[in-house]
Amino acid sequence: MEMKTKIHAEEGKQEIVITRDFDLPLELLFKAYVEPEIIEQWMGTKVKKLENKKHGGYQFETTDPKGNKHIFNGVIHDIILNTKIIRTFEMENTPFAVQLEFLEFEKLTDDTSKLRMHVIYKSIALRDQILKLPFAHGINMAHNQLQEIVDNIK
């Protein structure tokens, strides 16, 4: 199935661009980024702090299936209603350096809108490492499933 989300990751660059068209009016798309209760639903995270203002901060907390807590935080550099959010993003207690995110919200029609997320990483190597996380996770999952099957045969 065709994905509505597009990832543009050019070789040898320390940035990526994620774009997505939504069947939602611009105002509702933007709301999903600033209302804590809504963020909690679609990000699957707890919102510990969210200050939607210039130089405000945010902190999210997720709990993985094993019960481990992961905390993400950042600073909101700038926010303009229904237009853009510029913020940093950092995963606490990981070796990954902070990244800079430019989120641009655009009206397409009265009922559709577009999100463009431009993410800049500290280095090319770090970008590639982060992009590979879900891929590596998938391989691990497949490996674990295989291991289980093998264990069951024994």
Binding site: K4, E11, I18, F22, D23, W42, L133, F135, H137, G138
Partner: protein, 107 residues
């Protein structure tokens, strides 16, 4: 982990990408490949070694010559590694869209 065998590391280098493009059009010997570059021959050999180690190129002996072939399957693997990352975001955004559609109808 042996980084040299990492395909992502291998294609990060512009000369190696140029070599891949060249060999993709036609299998050729190290000498022919090197003649297409200003780079010193041992440097090209080093690049070929890295590309072979990570299976982007395969070697085939033909008489006294060794020909390098492009391995499209390995290249395909690279094109696919980004899919899980895109899928992760796509799932998230689908959820966002569904939640906000309900939110809209509640109003």
């Amino acid at each position: 982990m042996n980084l040299r065998r990492d395909v992502f590391q291998a294609i990060a280098d512009p000369t190696r990408r140029a070599i891949l493009l060249l060999v993709a059009s036609q299998a050729m010997t190290a000498g022919t490949i090197a003649s297409n570059f200003d780079t010193a021959r041992p440097t090209v050999s080093k690049h070929l070694q890295i590309l072979t180690e990570c299976e982007l190129l395969t070697q085939e002996q033909s008489g006294r010559e060794i020909y390098y072939h492009f391995n499209p399957n390995k290249m395909k693997e690279i094109a696919e590694w980004l899919i899980p990352f895109a899928k992760m975001w796509d799932d998230r955004f689908n959820k966002l869209e569904n939640i906000m559609k309900k939110y809209k109808s509640k109003k």
